[in-house]
Symmetry: C2
Subunit: 682 residues, 2 copies
């Protein structure tokens, strides 16, 4: 019986399709304007379009199917669930197969059989002429200057930029420069740059040392630059020559420059405490490897059958004497290493006997975390001496007397202050008006004071920005004197000199030191004395990677702007020349193209005209404190457990210098999660 | 107009569905017993089931749609293609997301805060009693014997198995043993085992050193075993004590054993050529690291501006003096390194000036490959001397005179023969009937000859299977004498002694040497003399990783069978005891449970009763020859380019000792494909 009506009736379904499946299918196809009808061959049905007639089915009213519906519903749900799980699994497998195949196919193309034909090389590169104050060979042309690529040839005629150093300052410059503007040469005694913030992770094996380094050759390759593996030892500002002692053969050579960037960093201070030679530092990759070896040796020795209980305790005591975030992180990493790896493979008594000692004031959160972890916090003590067998602390006891206590240990990590790099020392010796004891004085545009304008720059630990602090403050002392009593008390002073937190502590000490008449306020004469001495001891900015990186990037941007200005100047001169040659044959005043390109004829514009002074933006500091992290972001802090640790990792992951190190770091963290840290002493 | 017929007519399709899409959809749904009809709302259609009536459509005959069909066909194909590409991409993305999330979630759970309560420790482990011939402390109980886990306690009462060494032989034993059968202690001066076949890849940076090592503590952890970081220096077979000198503090201790497996390997021979101290070896991880440093230093020094052309050539000459697969692979890896990485980051002149020299006879395929690659093959020459500056070869020139030629080089790799490990030497010195000069003599069941039956075994380079070669051959000399002329000529002899190819060459020399009357045949007396001397110089099996691994596994299987036998014996005794105690009160002959467990009361069954002698199956040897590989699989060889190289990698990947090293190796190969090899000298 056929009845026409605009309604759509839902026909009865035979197995194996549930009503749900049918409605899904139908709604899907309705969108396509298609109609479905089920058919089992025995009850033919007619369907219809939306706007046409209806065929009513009798069997829809059959109640006999209701009792089996719940079971069918369960089955249908299970079926749907397993169907989607199967889709998801298949998708995942397909995804993995696609990923693996693409990696494999890419790998297939990396086995090149490129042949190098005869390489053009300038004979001047093979026989260097001698010259300069010490009559050494001058590397005016390098062996890879004339290589086939276009960019190499273009760079050859550009101003010569020499960067001394391979750390954060140098990275900042090199990764900001544009290709083709300068002939870049990097001079460094290490062939790679190190991602220093993660050194404490490498010292314990959480990440590999390889993941923290990037070869400098790869970095300069982007700029078609050059790398010389040597140590800068002297410089002649007049002739613009830098003297380099080559690593390996020790031969000396001059490298000429038009612009020099000094980014040599700092070294560790050896003053302070007797026995420093028994301590470990953590500034370089070699330090991290040495710490790793000592930690593993300690655990192996503690597991030997011949080790006495007292010796075992000594071997498993780790003392970290301060050092800011680095020290905290190392103590935390050692703790995590014991908790997560040692406990699984070494005799458990090793874990029980481990004691970690940390001596320096830290934030309350970190203190609580360390207390929970059982890290011994030594507060209000100073390190008196270090021997191969123990560390001696002195502290004031309740009576006010000084007393000593000793911790037997086979591992002491000491972070001393910084000292000047020998090359930086040489530079300041050569410049008579440089009096700072820790770094090269530069102005607000990072130009080294006393050198020909715009030729020599310094960044990072090696530099300190001196802007006539004394005169600046003497002028504004009245402004600082808020209560107009003719003196500066500590509160007014703290406001005037924005300093990092550790400087404030030091500043309080110094304030007290210079307050000679003890009235808790500084008169003008006391203030002037203080500022003079202060200026010579404390660098204007803390010696951190952030500062060096920002300064390097500033230099890079400045040089880019300078290169654009030079281009415009060159175009101007060329237009002038083509105008003059077309109007007159006199060549008295016209510049040839070579002259234009020649460095001597275009004096670089002053930095002030194209660039504002350097400004440091403190992004905050963060420290890992053992499956937790502390973020100090200036206005607010953020501390937390695993979530903060993942955030800490993300920040460092993002800060890497290349995709390669990012990938390696990620791999290291994943491998640590799957198989634990490395247990070898390599 | 409605016409009934059993045919199915294809209705006209309106946009946007092509006829192809429709037929696809229809065929898909036909299987479900559903019928489709397209509908665009203006021309209603009726469809039907397969067995019912037909409604013919007039508009099917409309020819006006034919002209736009090809374009629609193209669009529909594009649409289908992009649809499936989209599905594939989405699947891949879903797969990657699932993979990444699971890795992340797993990682989240690896930051444990497990606490170790007071660890039970046997006071006997802390104060060792002294004894033995030298009155040293005897480590009867170790510090981790009583740890909380059940398996530790069970193992404590089992026979004590001590394995000396940490290479392929030791791995074979440790990875075959079943948990809980023995109290296992491993004594090794290195804390890890090395995957030696890939050392040449590590020497150049294709893989990381970390990927080739597995800490021994992780391997013994499976057996709840123990590890002592020390060097075996002496042994007392009577009291079953092994004297160990601990690494680090140098203290000596006795470790008692019931079964001892000597797997100390071999050292490098220092005989042969003057100047060996200027050569590099490639047997250990430290060797690989030293080679890496030298190679990188050479390239850096060659890039300096002060290097003269002749010095550059010398720095970039790499000489490999033979050494079987290891030497070939190192030469090939250095070549690939130059082709794939050096050429990108170092001055191209470095690539041009590189010369690789290889001196040893190799297969024709490898020779052709090396010739194509420009590797200089030095044939028919011997190394006369090595200095820090060059290598001196002697060869016979056309006239038959000896002449010298020199290759200036800064890198020489020399693979000398093997010499006895000092501990193996000590063992043979203690056993009077051991006369072999290179290894400890063992019988066909790998038991050291002269030691109490079933207590001391030796595997790998340190052992040689002596089965009375002389008597064996004297008996069968008649059998060997095929032409019955009372003498053995070289052909008959070659057949009798199956040897590896390099032995055949040596054998020819030796045959000639012992053929004192020069009749190109060996009489019985000459033969006996030859065999005696032969037996003392050549080990029965080559000193390779395969041999050591198979021997170690054989020992492991034998010990498993022994443990099963002990179990059955213990059960037998217990049943006997429970029978006797229930029938009689006399305890004169019954054994207590402790007695049963005590080692002294059950004498181990002889090896011959539970195990057949050791048989070596040579699986073949393979070598990497620079993006190609040579497989020598006994009956047939297989050599090829990249495909063979991937096969070579697969074999080594499969042979790794753990999933961790497999993953690390795969990661290394992928990273090499993406970012090239490491360029650092770490």
């Amino acid at each position: 019986m056929v009845k026409l009506s605009p309604k759509i009736l839902r026909p009865r379904l035979g197995p194996p399709f549930s009503s749900r499946t049918f409605s899904q299918l139908r709604s899907k196809h309705l969108n396509h304007g298609l109609q479905l009808q089920s058919c089992n061959g025995l009850q033919p049905r007619l369907t219809h379009s939306r706007r046409s007639f209806t065929i009513e089915s009798n069997s829809n009213r059959n109640p006999s199917s209701n009792t089996s519906l719940p079971r069918r519903a369960i089955f249908s749900r299970l079926f749907t669930f397993s169907k989607y799980t199967l889709y998801l699994t298949l998708s995942s497998v397909v995804g993995l197969v696609v990923l693996t195949s693409s990696i494999f196919i890419h790998d297939l193309f990396t086995y090149t059989t490129r042949h190098v034909d005869h390489v053009p090389i300038n004979p001047l590169a093979l026989n260097l002429e001698r010259g300069g104050p010490k009559n050494l060979p001058i590397a005016r042309v390098l062996v890879d200057d004339d290589e086939d690529e276009d960019m190499h040839r273009i760079a050859r005629d550009k101003p010569r930029l020499v960067v001394v150093g391979g750390g954060w300052g140098a990275m900042g410059v090199l990764q900001t420069l544009h290709l083709g503007d300068y002939h870049v040469t990097v001079v460094s005694n290490e062939t790679f740059t190190t991602f220093t913030p993660l050194l404490s992770s490498a010292a314990v094996g959480t990440v590999q040392v390889r993941s923290l380094i990037e070869p400098l050759r790869k970095i300069v390759a982007r700029l078609r630059g050059h790398f010389v593996n040597g140590k800068a030892i002297d410089v002649d500002f007049g002739q613009r020559l830098i003297e380099v002692e080559c690593v390996g053969n020790g031969e000396k050579v001059y490298i000429p420059y038009d612009k020099l960037v000094i980014a040599v960093g700092s070294t560790s201070s050896t003053h302070g405490v007797p026995g420093l030679e028994h301590c470990f530092q953590l500034k370089t990759i070699a330090d991290a490897q040495a710490i790793r070896r000592r930690v593993m040796d300690n655990f192996e020795a503690a597991s030997l059958p011949t080790t006495s209980p007292s010796e075992r305790k000594r071997l498993l005591s780790f003392v970290v004497c301060g050092g800011g975030p680095t020290g905290i992180e190392t103590a935390a990493e050692i703790f995590d290493f014991c908790q997560e790896d040692i406990i699984n493979y070494f005799p458990k008594i090793c874990r029980e006997e481990v004691s970690i000692h940390y001596s320096e004031a830290i934030s309350q959160y970190a203190e609580d975390k360390f207390k929970r972890d059982g890290v011994n916090l030594i507060t209000n003590s100073r390190v008196a001496a270090v021997t191969p067998e123990h560390v001696i602390f002195t502290s004031k006891n309740a009576d006010g007397k000084m007393e000593q206590h000793t911790i037997p240990t086979n591992f002491t990590l000491w972070s001393t202050g910084i000292a000047m790099n020998p090359f930086a020392k040489r530079v300041t010796d050569l410049l008579r008006n440089q009096v700072h004891r820790k770094a090269i004085e530069v102005d607000a545009h990072l130009r080294v004071k006393g050198t020909p304008q715009g030729t020599v720059y310094a960044v990072g630990d090696a530099a300190t920005i001196e802007t006539s602090l004394v005169s600046h403050f003497v002028e504004s002392v009245e402004e600082a004197d808020k209560n107009k009593d003719g003196k500066i008390d500590f509160g007014e002073w703290e406001q005037k000199i924005p300093m990092a937190e550790d400087h404030v502590t030091k500043a309080r000490e110094i304030f007290t030191m210079y307050d000679t008449n003890g009235d808790n306020a500084l008169e003008l004469n006391e203030l002037v004395k203080l500022l003079e001495d202060l200026g010579n001891k404390i660098t204007s900015l803390p010696a951190t990677a952030q500062v060096a990186s920002q300064q390097g990037k500033y230099i890079g941007r400045k040089f880019n702007k300078l290169a654009r200005w030079r281009e415009r100047e060159e175009q101007k001169v060329e237009r002038t020349q083509s105008d003059t040659t077309s109007t007159t044959s006199s060549s008295a005043t016209s510049l040839s193209k070579d002259d234009v390109r020649s460095r001597k004829n275009i004096i670089d514009i002053a930095d002030e005209s194209i660039c504002s002074p350097f400004r440091y933006f403190h992004l905050g500091s963060l420290a890992y404190i053992g499956n937790a992290a502390v973020f100090d972001l200036g206005k607010y802090s953020f501390m937390g457990g695993l979530a903060a640790m993942y955030a800490w990792r993300s920040v460092y992951w993002n800060e890497q210098v290349s995709m390669r190190t990012r990938a390696l770091l990620m791999i290291d963290w994943i491998v640590r999660g799957a198989w634990g840290r490395d247990l070898s002493r390599l």
